[in-house]
């Protein structure tokens, strides 16, 4: 290797390298110079033509967004065209003066100016920005006549989005909104920057967000000739855009509205699933909000009203509110007992009033639960002690393993975003959840509350409905879904969205039949008998009550506290009893006992589904004392 004895030698070697470097620099610059010569002298005419004579702009042609329909074709999301007055900020020298002059022709409110300023900051090259939207025909006529005075100002027909069902589908369909920085980043990561050049809106929530790529379509390209003022004067070539696909939902808007009406102004959720397909028939969360407010950026006042409301209308309770299921857990526990061989259908127990565990006495005073109790009776009358004993015998791991098969404590994978996992309690879960050793320890007493659906158990209405659907269809667990077909907007081709169950839970039909028969009896002479009296059809159900322990840091408001301390009311049910076509879960927050408020809501929803009976008023709660008598 090079090794220089004398410093001068090293210096000369260095200088030789400098000469080489200079040569390299000169060659590279020579390369650049010849490239410039080639472009600017040899090819000048070609590029001159492209830039000067034919200023060609490559413009995106934004595709029409796909529409969304319910299962009977009712439109839930559609596009409509309106005229907007737009300014291209790059081509207008004095924006303020131009806006001032325009405001003498059409009304431009302070709100419009604010939005315009905001949009100018967010917009890309070329794009003109609306200063007024929803122009009337008269306004269009007035402005069109004077447009020549305003270079860089134009009237355009733009597509807007509309959700005709408004709050009824806000938690399902979601909404679109203007593309923001975060969306741009996501688009870049998906490698779709080119396809969104020109797009202004993107799905922000619900199906609009989860099916964004299907709904959006493919952007086309238009090459136009632009004159010196920057206006397109001639179309040179055009690759048309391909409109986005439509979505046909499994949702039944009639049922959706029935469930919404039945809940009335209470806080709660209804999820109804078609057991044979996993298709969601209704998914309601109340209170709701108007998605149309969000499309062009929600106003500060509207946003405040929604986000500060103690009722949290933006929260999708059907997917996100996880509560202990209370006694609606018992049908699943009963199955667990039968499948594990710990219980048989024929076994009868006496002296069921008290269960003692390490000195603790768990008491059940219901007269129907005292003696000669079999599994059927424990479901009909919701007897607790039977399940205390069963849970204690099975142990928490066996319970968790069995329940996991039904999707409890896991995201179901439904095709709208924002699902909560819930909690399927087990010693392993507790170790992960808590950090201190004493909290990580699993106590036998906790197994006992878990076995009647209290304690750490927390499931969403969606999980309850989907688990019930699997129970009534013979054990097929589906990924619940709202979209039935993705419909190609050009060819009309219908692409079905998955029809196969995710898993088939191995269960004996004899056991399923027994549990379902007991649930039918619940609605005939059990805890929900009063609510389902004279229904005119046979149905199955189970009431449940989730104990509320504390207000969990919510603000103390006089007069509201009593209501917020009431237990949450649950009901799960199916109809008709033979070959059910609907499996549903109803949650009414602070609704008290299951039979008190959730069951009446379920009755109305089932009445609509089975009999087509319209709903005139929100479901009436039954008297608390009557409900207490049945359930305690």
């Amino acid at each position: 290797m090079t090794e220089f004895k004398r410093p001068e030698e090293a210096l000369y070697a260095f200088r030789r390298r400098v000469v080489v470097a200079v040569l390299f620099v000169v060659i590279c610059f020579g390369l650049l110079a010849s490239r410039f010569y080639y472009l600017q002298v040899v090819q000048h005419d070609y590029y001159h033509a492209r830039a000067e004579g034919n200023r060609v702009a490559v413009l995106p042609v934004v595709p029409g967004r796909g529409e969304i329909y319910d299962r009977h074709g009712e439109v839930l999301a559609r596009n409509y065209s309106v005229y907007t007055l737009e300014i291209n900020p790059v081509r207008v020298r004095n924006l303020d003066a131009t806006i001032e002059a325009l405001s003498r022709i059409v009304t431009i409110e302070e709100r419009d100016r604010r939005r315009f300023r905001r949009l100018v900051l967010e917009t890309k090259y070329f794009d003109s920005v609306p200063i007024r939207t929803h122009l009337t025909d008269e306004e269009v006529a007035r402005i069109a006549a004077r447009l020549y005075q305003f270079p860089g100002v134009e009237v355009q027909a733009r597509q807007y989005r509309d959700y005709p069902a408004g709050p009824s589908t806000a938690h399902v369909v979601g909404y679109i909104g203007r593309i923001n920085e975060r969306d741009i980043q996501r688009i870049e990561e998906r490698g779709e920057t080119a396809n969104y050049r020109g797009s202004e809106y993107i799905g922000k929530s619900g199906l609009e967000s989860s099916y964004e790529s299907a709904l959006h379509g493919t952007t086309g390209i238009e090459q136009v000739e632009i004159n010196a003022g920057g206006r397109a004067v001639r179309l040179m070539s055009r690759t048309p855009s391909i409109p986005g696909s439509h979505l046909e939902l499994t949702l039944d808007m009639g049922l959706q509205r029935a469930a919404e009406a039945a809940l009335g102004n209470r806080r709660g959720a209804v999820v109804a699933i078609e057991p044979a397909t996993g298709g969601v028939l209704a998914l309601v969360s109340t209170p709701s909000f108007d998605p149309n407010l969000f499309i062009d950026g929600i106003s500060v006042a509207d946003w405040r009203a929604l986000s500060d409301s103690p009722d949290h209308p933006l929260l999708n309770r059907a997917l996100y509110s996880a509560y202990p299921p209370g006694s609606t857990f018992k049908p699943f526990m009963a199955l667990a007992g039968l499948e594990s061989g710990r219980r048989t259908l024929e076994q009868r127990f006496n002296n069921q009033g008290v269960f003692t565990y390490v000195g603790h006495r768990f008491v059940d005073r219901k007269s129907n639960c005292q003696s000669n109790v079999d599994l059927h009776r424990t479901l009909v009358y919701s007897c607790n002690t039977y399940y205390y004993q069963l849970g204690n015998e099975m142990g928490i791991d066996a319970i968790a393993d069995f329940m996991r098969q039904f999707g409890f404590g896991q995201r179901s994978g439904i095709d709208v975003p924002g699902e909560a996992t819930g909690v399927l309690p087990s010693p392993a879960w507790k170790r992960n959840r808590f950090s201190s050793r004493e909290h990580q320890q699993w106590y036998g007493g906790e197994t006992i509350s878990v076995s009647i659906g209290q304690g750490y158990n927390a499931y969403t209405p969606l999980q309850m409905a989907n688990a019930l659907a699997a129970l009534v269809n013979g054990g097929a667990l589906y990924r619940p879904h709202l979209v039935r077909h993705i419909v190609d907007a050009v060819t009309g081709e219908m692409r079905p969205v998955e029809t196969e169950p995710v898993t088939r839970i191995p269960l004996r039909q004899r056991h399923l039949d027994a549990v379902m028969a007991a649930m039918v009896e619940v609605n005939v002479r059990g805890t929900a008998a009063r609510v389902f009296k004279d229904a005119g059809y046979a149905s199955g159900g189970k009431t449940g009550t989730a104990q509320v322990f504390s207000l969990r840091g919510q603000r103390y408001v006089e007069g509201q506290v009593a209501e917020r301390l009431r237990d949450h009311s649950w009901f799960i049910g199916f109809a008709p009893a033979e070959n059910p076509t609907i499996a549903l879960a109803v949650l009414v927050e602070n609704g008290g006992f299951g039979s008190q408020s959730a069951a009446p809501v379920a009755r109305q929803v089932m009445d609509y589904h089975v009999l087509g009976k319209p709903i005139e008023a929100p479901a009436e709660e039954i008297d608390e004392r009557l409900a207490a008598e049945l359930e305690q």
Binding site: M1, T2, E3, F4, K5, P7, A10, L11, A13, F14, R15, R17, V18, A21, V22, V25, V26, C28, F29, L31, L32, A33, R35, F36, Y37, L39, Q40, V41, Q43, H44, Y46, Y47, H48, R50, A51, E52, R55, A57, V58, P60, V90, R91, Y125, F126, Q185, E188, E189, G191, T193, A194, R197, T219, I221, I226, A228, G230
Partner: protein
Amino acid sequence: MSEFRFHPLALIRAGLRPLDPFLLLVLAGLLGYGYALMTSASPERLPSLQVHLMVGLATMWLVSLVPPKRLLSLAVPLYLIGVVLLLGVFFFGETSKGAKRWLDIGVARIQPSELMKIAVPLMLAWYFQQREGMIRFGSFIVAIVLLAIPLGLIVIQPDLGTSLLVGAAGLYVIFFAGLSWKLIVPVVMVGAIGIGAIVGFGDMLCQPEVDWQVLREYQKQRVCTLLDPTQDPLGKGFHIIQSTIAIGSGGLWGKGWLDGTQTHLAFIPERHTDFIFSVLAEEFGLVGALALLGGYLLLILRGFLIAAQAPTLASRLLAGAITMIIFTYAFVNMGMVSGILPVVGVPLPFVSYGGTALVTLCVGLGILMSIERSRVAAKE
């Protein structure tokens, strides 16, 4: 003591003495050119450009006051700080647009890779100075490791533009330190064959299912866009098509200052930063472009003269490497805008808008001036 008298004029003269008049003159020309272009491309940025210029020139002056010895004594600490900060980016960095480049240190967000453009050549020059008279094969291995550590951390961010500049800076020092031609020639050959292969088989390699292993997806796209910009006219190819039109339509004399249609109809994206050369070529034509090349050439020749005459090994290596970095900035940027190199985020030195790059480059010039001053001082 009694003889001490305060001469403000003499003080100013002494303070300004390190500033090399030749470099200063060429720099003034380049900065003035940049200012004129900014007036056309993005006049609303002129006020902040003025601030950048002031900060840049002040930095250059301050650095030129520090003797080379003192600068070299900072080599190790600067290098170590840089590596620690890069590790910080790796573990706690902020992700923006798919890359992790920024570090939030409470008071501000910093981009440590920028520091490395100076710290790496400084460190390597310092190292070779320590080995003076005993430079063997092993010394080059050590030097390459010293370069590879920060370079690796920048490559994985990923930041192609900065990796290129930092890697080049280190390799220039190693080259000037006398790495054998027997090693340089094969590496250059492999590189040339590689580039030749990519150009020759571009169509095949650019199929979406081909995975390039060493390069990230977005880097592959940039190379493929260069090979055929029309493939993606709305996406990445848009930049190259439009800047080529701007340059070509400029012709021999250009369309005149403030009259570039491509520029003023907003056809050129990033026209104030990486693509400012297309504004220049459109408005001032081939003559303007060659004038810029000439300016850079003068700057580079002066830099090499300083290097060739520098009194110590370290200052020679440092001066040579800094000069080559300025060349690399200029060549990569103009090559990319005119469509002979892929789109790499490298600004046009002293002309593109951007305070950080300007300050880095001014530090480089300051070091050159300090080295030249030390030679003159040694003679005196």
